[in-house]
């Protein structure tokens, strides 16, 4: 029996990355979803299309542009310069930026749908009761959109766990920093260590199944409670 303790660091790193990414995604995605749901601007669908781009683009396109954007010639290099570095590639922070962009549509779309589903009426009622827009957002819109937030968070988390191409291209495979689960599996397959690859890949399979099943059950339940 070989030693499996080396399987743990990539798992832990992946969970950390997915957690931080999900938090950032909720903070960034909620205002975007709100604006997309409420705005009357004609060009809002263009913004929605930009948000949805990662659904269609291969990870190599994102990875390639990110590698340049995070590097010394791009904005990432400028930000890294503030902290004495020269590139955001090969860092945990760089992976968070990449993951946020990559998983954005999975969070924005469900939240936007949820905001749109209850229409103008509840907010108008809140306004006649003299709730400020800010107050109405927190005490009316957010609770009503709760299923959307849960679905968005679960999908954003799961999609980040399942990320591979972008991380491979900007990560640099540094243990504990950028060597995530999917990259570890790739390495095990490359080096013919199929037992380890099997354990991690099998775990991912079960994880993905549980996530998808629970989102479906959740959705069914909210549909039922609404009707």
């Amino acid at each position: 029996m070989s030693d499996f303790t080396e399987l743990w660091p990539p798992i832990r790193l992946t969970l950390e990355l997915a957690t931080v990414t999900t938090i950032v995604l909720l903070l960034v995605g909620t205002p975007i979803a709100w604006w997309l749901a409420r705005s009357k601007a004609r060009w809002k669908e263009a913004v929605a299309a930009v948000v949805a781009l990662p659904l269609v683009l291969p990870p190599t396109v994102l990875g390639f542009y990110l590698l340049i954007a995070l590097g010394p010639e791009g904005p990432g290099g400028w930000i890294a310069g503030l902290f004495g570095g020269r590139s955001l590639a090969f860092t945990f922070e760089g992976l968070v930026i990449g993951s946020v962009i990559y998983s954005l549509p999975f969070v924005v779309q469900p939240i936007r749908n949820a905001f749109e589903s209850f229409g103008e009426r509840p907010l108008e009622v809140a306004a006649t009761l003299r709730a400020s827009p800010w107050d109405a957002f927190w005490s009316v819109a957010v609770p009503l959109a709760r299923p959307g937030f849960i679905t968005g968070a679960v999908l954003g988390f799961a999609h980040t766990v399942g990320e591979f191409g972008v991380v491979l291209m900007i990560g640099g495979n540094i243990p504990g920093e950028t060597k995530v689960l999917s990259v570890a599996i790739y390495d095990y397959v490359e080096t013919l260590r199929w037992t380890e690859a099997n354990i991690l890949a099998g775990g991912m399979l079960v994880f993905a199944f549980v996530v998808i099943l629970s989102t479906m059950v959740l959705q069914k339940r909210t549909e039922r409670s609404e009707s």
């Binding site: 590698l67 340049i68 995070l70 590097g71 010394p72 010639e73 290099g77 570095g85 020269r86 590139s87 590639a89 090969f90 491979l168 291209m169 640099g172 495979n173 540094i174 990259v183 790739y186 390495d187 397959v189 490359e190 080096t191 013919l192």
Partner: protein, 260 residues
């Protein structure tokens, strides 16, 4: 009317040219066959050039698939349709024979690789003391566990006595192509790349690592079971040993391996 006339004429042309090509193929080699070759990524450019010359000379056709040695091997074990395997190491071709995926006694070293310390910055790399002196944040290498070019880089740093000091600055590309990518995009100031990647252009600065600093990067080829009865596959492997292929290898910075 005019358009349909035009279409009619152009479709005639297409038929004519298809016929001409078929006739040419039929006459050039009555026994023309197709050989499918899986090639390790670092040998991509050299393989394309060797393949083009081989096609002209033999009349056979070559179809290349490029990938990392480990990926290709994994695919071969699952029945991938390749006739010849050009690996980046000796381990996988040996194993292919052992595990019964390749024809015994067909394995040989088709090339030996060299590594170079390379930077986009024309002032950065100055000989073997570069790593002791230059200030830099990241040094790119290929994954030493999967790529011989990566383990050669580690051996070189150990030989220079700088490995311990540099360990935290190392970033790994999945293969040697990616290590080069990290340097080319400036995300790493310098890196150990394959000589073949920088042999054809002259920008930046480099130090060709002497072969005494690391174990030989021997790249082996082997005839796979699928290609056992394919004349084109055997012809390609013979061509790979010959003088024409040798010239291409030298041009790209490879040693000739077992070629006479």
């Amino acid at each position: 009317m005019l358009i349909s006339l035009y279409l009619l004429r152009s479709s005639n042309w297409i038929l004519l040219s298809v016929g001409a090509v078929l006739a040419a193929i039929a006459s050039s080699a009555c026994h023309a066959e197709v050989v499918r070759v899986a090639v390790a990524a670092n040998f991509t450019e050299a393989a394309k050039e060797i393949g083009a010359q081989f096609e002209v000379q033999s009349g056979h056709a070559v179809v290349f698939s490029f990938g990392s040695t480990g990926q290709i091997y994994a695919q071969i074990t699952q029945g991938a349709p390749f006739d010849v395997f050009l690996a980046a190491d000796q381990v996988r071709p040996k194993r292919a024979v052992q595990d019964g995926y390749a024809v015994p006694d067909t394995r040989f070293t088709y090339a030996t690789g060299r590594i170079a310390l390379f930077s986009q910055d024309s002032e950065m790399v100055k000989g073997e003391r570069t790593l002791e002196r230059s200030p830099f944040a990241k040094l790119a290498i290929a994954n030493p566990v999967t790529a011989p070019y990566g383990s050669a880089a580690i051996e070189t740093m150990k030989a220079l006595g700088v490995y311990k000091a540099l360990e935290d600055k190392i970033v790994q590309g999945g293969n040697i192509a990616q290590a080069y990518q990290f340097v080319a995009t400036g995300n790493a100031e310098l890196g150990f790349v394959a000589l073949s990647q920088v042999a054809q252009h002259h920008a930046g600065s480099r130090w060709l690592v002497p072969e005494s600093f690391h174990s030989v990067i021997a790249q082996d080829t082997v005839l796979l079971n699928r290609g056992a009865n394919n004349n084109a596959a055997r012809a390609f492997m013979t061509f790979l040993k010959g003088p024409a292929a040798r010239a291409v290898k030298e041009k790209f910075g490879y040693g000739a391996g077992d070629s006479p």
